[in-house]
Amino acid sequence: DAGVTQSPTHLIKTRGQQVTLRCSPISGHKSVSWYQQVLGQGPQFIFQYYEKEERGRGNFPDRFSARQFPNYSSELNVNALLLGDSALYLCASTGIETQYFGPGTRLLVL
C-alpha cells in the first residue's frame, strides 16, 4: 500500500505570492493533519481535518487555510507569503490515532 503522498516536493515562491500544497492520505485513513517544520526544529501543528471538517487549528495566522475533499485528500493554502514561511510542510495521515507522515513539501520564499 502507498504511504502518504505530497506534491510538489519542492517549491520556490516570492514574497506576497500564494501557494497550494497537496496531500493524499494512506488508503482508508480519514484524517489529515498539516505541520510546518522550520529547519532545525520539530514540526509545528497547523491544522487537522477529519471527514472534511476542521477539527483543530494551531497558532498560525489566517493566511493559512486548508480543506479536505470527499476522497480525504487535502490542500493547504498559504496567502501573502512571507520569508518566514520558508519551511518543510508535512502532511500526516491518521487511521485510529497514530499519525504517519509524508515526505513533505519544501517551500522556499524569496
Binding site: Y35, P43, Y50, R55, Q99, Y100
Partner: protein
C-alpha cells in the same frame, strides 16, 4: 506553555553500542507518546509509541520507557547501526486531542 523538550541535541555513539535518547514533557495531561525518526530530506518515520498506562514498551531493537512521575520519556536503541543515524523526535498528545506537540529533536550520529 506546553512543550516537549530534549536534553541532548546531539548524541554520538559507536556502532554496536546501545543508544539512549531522552525527552522531557511538561503536560501532565498527555497520555500518548510517540517517537519518530527523521532522515535528511524525508518526513518523520514512526518508530514506537506508548500510552500513559504503560511504563515500558519494546519493539524490534527499540524500547521506550515512560516515567510519569518525572515526566520523562526515553528511547533505547540496541546495537546501534549506521542506518540509525538521523534526528529523533518525541511527540506527545493528550486524550481527545488531535495535535502532536514535538520537541526540537536529537541528532544521533553513529561512529564506525
Amino acid at each position: 506553555g506546553e512543550s516537549v523538550g530534549l536534553h541532548l541535541p546531539t548524541l554520538s555513539v559507536q556502532e554496536g553500542d546501545n543508544s539512549i535518547i531522552n525527552c522531557a514533557y511538561s503536560n501532565s495531561a498527555s497520555d500518548y507518546f510517540i517517537w519518530y525518526k527523521q532522515e535528511s530530506g524525508k518526513g518523520p518515520q514512526f518508530i514506537i509509541d506508548i500510552r500513559s498506562n504503560m511504563d515500558k514498551r519494546q519493539g524490534q531493537r527499540v524500547t521506550v520507557l515512560l516515567n510519569k512521575t518525572v515526566k520523562h520519556l526515553s528511547l533505547q536503541i540496541a546495537a546501534t547501526q549506521p542506518g540509525d543515524s538521523a534526528v529523533y523526535f518525541c511527540a506527545e498528545s493528550g486524550l481527545g486531542t488531535y495535535k502532536y506537540i514535538f520537541g526540537t529533536g536529537t541528532r544521533l550520529k553513529v561512529l564506525a
